[in-house]
């Protein structure tokens, strides 16, 4: 499907979605509350079938956190980037997508470890790299560590 057709389908699924086409891929920006039903449809609908989650990460924009999901369909060869905005930065929470793509299990643990985003209904939410008692989340912009030096 072309980006125009994809946009049309997404608007049918989720009327309030915002689109950004300035980059390489089509970006769909949604609220974090509607993430799970939306991506479930993206994965299971035969005309969309986004079966390959090739990148899952988070970006700290200081006033909000942005979860970024890069999705590819192996059958239809189209790509989309789903972005879910989390406005609560002190206690960020979002639904886990590990029931849809199994690779999300590890990637979400990484985001939980380094950004502190709590994934609801995740099967095994533990820190993946750092110790459980590590203070703070290193990839957040407000993270401070006395051992950090300016390069």
């Amino acid at each position: 499907m072309t980006n125009e057709e994809l946009k049309q389908r997404f608007t049918e699924l989720l009327p309030g979605a915002i689109y950004d086409e300035t980059g390489e891929f089509l970006n769909v920006i949604i609220n974090s509350e509607v993430l799970l039903p939306f991506v479930k449809e993206l994965r299971n609908n035969d005309t969309l079938s986004f079966d390959y989650l090739f990148c899952l990460t988070c970006v700290d924009w200081k006033d909000h956190l942005m979860m970024v999901y890069h999705l590819l369909s192996k059958d239809h060869k189209h790509t989309v980037v789903v972005k879910a905005k989390i406005t609560d930065i002190t206690n960020p929470e979002i639904e886990s997508v590990s029931s849809i793509w199994k690779t999300a299990n590890f990637h979400e643990r990484e985001v939980y470890d380094l950004f502190g985003v709590k994934f609801l209904n995740h099967p095994d939410l533990r820190r993946i790299f750092l110790d459980e008692d590590w203070p703070g989340h290193p990839l957040r912009k407000n993270y401070v560590d006395e051992n950090m030096i300016e390069i």
Partner: protein, 374 residues
Amino acid sequence: MSALIEEDYITEEGEFVINIGPQHPSTHGVLHIKAWLDGETIKKVQPHLGYIHRSIEKMSESLSYRNFIFVTSRMDYISAHINNEACALAVEKGLQIEAPPRAQVIRILMAELTRLASHQLWWGATGLDLGAITPFFHAFREREAIITIMENTCGARLTQNYMVPGGVMYDLHPDFQKETKAIVKQVKEKLGEYEDLLTGNVIFEQRTKGVGYISKEDAISYGCSGPTARASGVSCDVRKWFPYDGYDKVVFDEVLDTGGDCYARYMVRMREMVQCCDIIDQLIDNIPEGDFQAKTKNVIKLPKGEFYQRVETARGELGVYLVSDGAASPYRIKYRSPNFSNLSALEHMAVGGKIGDLVAIMATLDLVIPDIDR
């Protein structure tokens, strides 16, 4: 890591827990695997990571667009060239420039030599893991010659730091073509020897055939890439899907297998070595004349926006997700490393098998731990 201080090494169901690593030779680095066993049968596997986590992503946020590339040599240190290439391409995408033709060909040649060397290291180490010590010496004979070519051109053996935004750092060594032709000829001759040593060996076949199976659907769901996914029949070669640096002008096959087990993964890599040699053969006499580097400003600043670049390393798809806010260093950078996703499929492959199979699975996944931890 808290697992080390747990006391219940025998569970109520009579299963017992063993820790493999972080200093076990078969884990090829500091990977710690906690395995729940019933007799010899694996019930559950849990990788514990972080022993070599350096937070390269955080470090990159305070480095310039020229410097952050070289930190990535320390991720997948056996494919250092290809890691650097991914970052250089991501910066080029932001600058909207392309490397000159000569630089592109040099990049492909170097990347394929790296892949060849990486697969040879893997082949030797796999034999070693499964009880055959001779392959290691054979593989290192050829690998050493490739590493020497790298040293002559780039000045370093492993962490070459040869790619820069806009091309490569300096021109090829005068003897590069002669030496490369010699080593490719040698590898082609010796590949038959490799097959004789390991491929048809009865013990080797019994330890790998039908072991560590993963289906096509699961490989896609677990985000596997590279030879691991291609052995399950998933077409995922980035060089074919999203060609970069002129890979679309080179003739080669995407190696696919449908076995899905350790043996299939082994065969995919063996056949990929032949493809590497073919690609090098096509290009080695046709290196275009001209600049080896496009002109770029001393201080690179990318426009505001997001850039995603993926390349095919020896282990699979490496993605560089670069977020720029217009400053002289990246706002956020994420490396989607192939080993991290491949490792997440380890439990799926290992459960139900024997503890000895775990070593075979880890060997054919070709894990590089610094790439997992980053």
